[in-house]
Symmetry: C2
Subunit: 117 residues, 2 copies
């Protein structure tokens, strides 16, 4: 029963990761999401590594509180720019580059082309 | 003398219109500018008419105070998306479509493709 509870708990954690298709996202939401410089930096850093290799916990160098960082990841997920999944205690990330580009042509390229500040 | 004063006053009014080249604009400023739904609507309405035919005074149907409207026009001018000039008592507008597109490829198209709300 304890084992069952643990599995269920882990499963629930992943299940709370709601993902949104970029096709359902408004331009307003997309602009709000990429309007924040820390979120743009997260996106650029993720673009520099292969999918599913970078965990949320590796972004602690960014100058924001941990709770704020979690919020930023949630915002990016909610506009269809980020996919996440849990592996053990790590939450891994993948940019949804092609899907986001299809919905908002050019927007991601602008973010990726910006210099880090 | 009164005529001279009027002309001079008009001239000074135009001279206070500072314009910015899109090339000098940061992505942050551009995203902030188009992040506002009223500003995006102004841009869409201007895109629907020939350059220099639509005066600021014809935007009174938008649900914002006159002072807020002036602010919106200034923001659009300051990110290089709008050019303005005074003709008599009218302040006429032109979208700087090509210049803005060159600096921020795709961004204006996203704004123009959005449905009015």
């Amino acid at each position: 029963m304890e084992h069952y509870t643990n599995v269920r708990s882990q499963s629930n954690r992943t299940r709370t990761l709601t993902h949104t298709s970029p096709l359902e996202v408004t331009l307003q939401a997309a602009l709000d999401a990429v309007g924040d410089p820390v979120r743009r930096r997260i996106v650029r850093e993720l673009a520099g590594v292969p999918d599913w290799t970078r965990a949320c916990g590796t972004f602690n160098h960014l100058p924001v509180a941990k709770s704020t960082l979690s919020h930023h990841f949630a915002v990016l997920r909610n506009v269809g720019l980020l996919e996440q999944r849990d592996e053990g205690s790590r939450r891994l990330n993948r940019l949804r580059r092609e899907e986001f580009e299809e919905r908002f042509p050019g927007l991601l390229a602008l973010v990726l082309g910006e210099d880090d500040q």
